[in-house]
């Protein structure tokens, strides 16, 4: 099987609130100082799913793709160290400022160039702008079936069997191949790269594909092609003042809190 995983680099999404800074004028998020960016967690889980499928279908090949600039391609090394076979960095100044439609179009052109793909996996949403659409738009561009928010993905008799996480349970869906599946955290924790994996990844070369390598119509990508524009970015004010309860013991402090909650008619 040929499996493609689409992944994105994001600022570490788990930084403390106080470290999160924006440039409201430029409508940009300022990367937190001294905290390295990471692969978007759902994308890392998509790689994990690909690796599990490969384990059951020996001989499969996993290709990781990312669209971005500068160091954004570093996550491909991470994908390789986890066990992906190949990484391709889709990078061109023309891509800058692309929205989900532009990004999906770039990925679709890369996948068409690869050819013969059986399964495409994406994270359900990237942990930066939380747009949650690239996977869907990519499936639409390629004209292939799509299942979103998977908590389990299996290949059974040449078909996909996918459990889709629902707010009150899950449903099981079946799809032919090729199809695209977006992956949610319920699939379980991604594996850590092994020492050997890291060494192998360091040796592998990551290809860089530019717009012309994929026959991309540059009018369809970049900021000018975006279908939506951000007009404002701000950090919401949170004015909660926390009333802290203290006493000789923690137990006594909570008793004081319970009494206060009763007085305030909260309980």
């Amino acid at each position: 099987m040929n499996i493609v995983v689409c992944a994105k680099q994001v600022p570490n999404p788990e930084i403390p609130m106080g470290k999160f800074k924006i440039d409201a004028q430029a409508l940009k998020v300022i990367p937190p100082e001294g905290i390295a960016p990471v692969i978007s967690p759902f994308d890392e889980q998509a790689i994990e799913v690909a690796l599990r499928i490969k384990e059951k279908n020996p001989g499969s090949k996993i290709t990781a793709l990312t669209v971005g600039a500068g160091s954004a391609g570093d996550i491909l090394k991470h994908a390789l160290s986890m066990g992906a076979d190949e990484g391709i960095f889709l990078s061109d100044p023309a891509f800058e400022g692309s929205d989900a439609f532009g990004t999906a179009y770039i990925l679709s052109k890369a996948i068409q160039k690869l050819g013969n793909v059986d399964l495409i996996l994406c994270g359900r949403q990237a942990a930066d702008w939380d747009v949650g659409q690239v996977g869907t738009l990519l499936a639409e561009d390629l004209g292939i079936p799509l299942i979103t928010i998977a908590r389990k993905v299996e290949v059974l008799n040449g078909k996909l069997s996918v459990e889709r996480a629902l707010i009150d349970g899950y449903e099981v869906l079946e799809a032919p191949m090729p199809s695209l599946v977006t992956v949610s955290n319920e699939v379980g924790l991604p594996r850590l790269p092994t020492g050997m994996g890291i060494i192998m990844a360091a040796r592998k070369k990551v290809a860089v594909w530019k717009a012309q390598d994929m026959g991309i119509d540059v009018a369809k990508v970049g900021k000018n092609a975006a279908r939506s524009e951000m007009v404002k970015l701000y950090i919401p004010v949170r004015e909660a003042k926390c009333e802290m309860f203290q006493a000789d013991t923690v137990a006594e402090a909570t008793v004081k809190m319970a009494v206060r909650l009763r007085e305030a008619k909260v309980i």
Binding site: V131, Q133, D168, G169, L189, L233, C242, A258, L261
Partner: protein, 332 residues
């Protein structure tokens, strides 16, 4: 471009009744439609929609388009996408709104692609820009660390709304509106994906989304066993138990009780967070709570920045005394 008019919402029906999110869509939809001088339309897809259609009018719809078809009784991504696309193309609305639900998360981007529009997902505020009459959609980004306001250039301008972020109107049974049947025949060739099974995993007792009291445990609980005391507290208060994603991912509790950006949205009278660090992605699911109590052993934890009442300490010392005192207080 044809006339840039029309505001269509796509509602949802649960057990023959209009789902709360649909009433919320009509609440905000009414405001937006009035600001634009538009009619407010709602599309309902499914089977047995008569009752829900009536409710939609009571909640503010001017016209309810009813696409009834046994094949739409349960959500199938392909058949719903095909049916909704067909109706939306006929109506060609300028604005199209849905809920950020199991259905909306899946369907909205598909529709945006099929209709040539663009969608802002998981919005917490919607407004009409006075000069342009365009939709301005405010959505949390970076897990809720910031908000972005989006203006869509394509048509339809689409948005999904976060549950409980926008208020429904009081239903008015004497409101007048039209119910219009539409053809929802779906070409079988469009249906590539089959739903073979649906499994409900609802917790017993009070539903988390509806509970007045929610007791949530995080990774600080250390294991599944410790959630028993949270269940006891929930029982004492008459509420439900929630969890952070970390506690769900560790397998201590079912992932269906996850509260947060990618879990359930709750807005109880009292939210008690125990061993929860207060990551923004979690707060996204509980920031609408009237009161938040935090118990955490780390005085620097983020949760104290959003809580109203707090105790710094180990939950093992805090919970037994707190539960006991609540029992006493509630008995008087």
């Amino acid at each position: 471009m044809a006339e840039d008019k029309g505001l269509l919402t796509i509602g949802e029906v649960a057990n023959g009744k209009l789902a709360p999110i649909a009433a919320e869509l009509l609440g905000i939809g009414r405001k937006l439609a009035d600001a634009r001088g538009d009619k407010l339309d709602m599309l309902l897809l499914g089977a047995n929609l008569a009752e829900a259609a009536k409710q939609a009018i009571a909640y503010g719809a001017d016209r309810v388009y009813v696409a009834e078809n046994p094949a739409l009784a349960e959500y199938n991504p392909d058949s719903y996408a095909a049916a909704a696309t067909k109706v939306a193309k006929q109506l060609s609305p300028s604005i199209l709104l849905m809920g950020q639900t199991d259905m909306g998360r899946d369907l909205a981007p598909r529709l945006a692609a099929k209709l040539g529009g663009a969608v802002s997902m998981d919005c917490t505020e919607l407004a009409i820009e006075p000069d342009t009459k365009l939709l301005l959609a405010t959505r949390p980004v970076f897990g809720g660390n910031a908000n972005g306001v989006m203006r869509v250039k394509a048509r339809p301008q689409m948005a999904t709304i976060r549950a409980k972020s926008m208020a429904a109107l009081e239903p008015n049974a004497s409101r007048q509106g039209e119910v219009i049947k539409v053809d929802a025949g779906v070409d079988a060739s469009a249906v590539k994906v089959k739903v073979t099974k649906k499994v409900k995993q609802e917790a017993l007792g009070i539903k988390l989304e509806d509970a007045e009291f929610v007791v949530t445990g995080g990774r600080g609980m250390g294991g599944a066993e410790a959630f028993k005391s949270l269940e006891e507290l929930a029982r004492v208060l008459g509420g439900a138990v929630g969890a952070t994603r970390a506690a769900c991912d560790d397998g201590w509790v079912a992932s269906t009780i996850q509260v947060g950006q990618t879990g359930k949205i709750v807005s109880p009278k009292l939210y008690i967070a125990v061993g929860v660090s207060g990551a923004m992605q979690h707060i996204a699911g509980c920031s609408g709570s009237k009161n938040i109590v935090a118990i955490n052993k780390d005085p620097e934890a983020n949760i104290f920045k959003v809580a109203h009442f707090g105790v710094v300490g180990d939950y093992k010392e805090a919970l037994p005394a707190f539960i006991q005192k609540c029992k006493e207080l509630l008995a008087t």
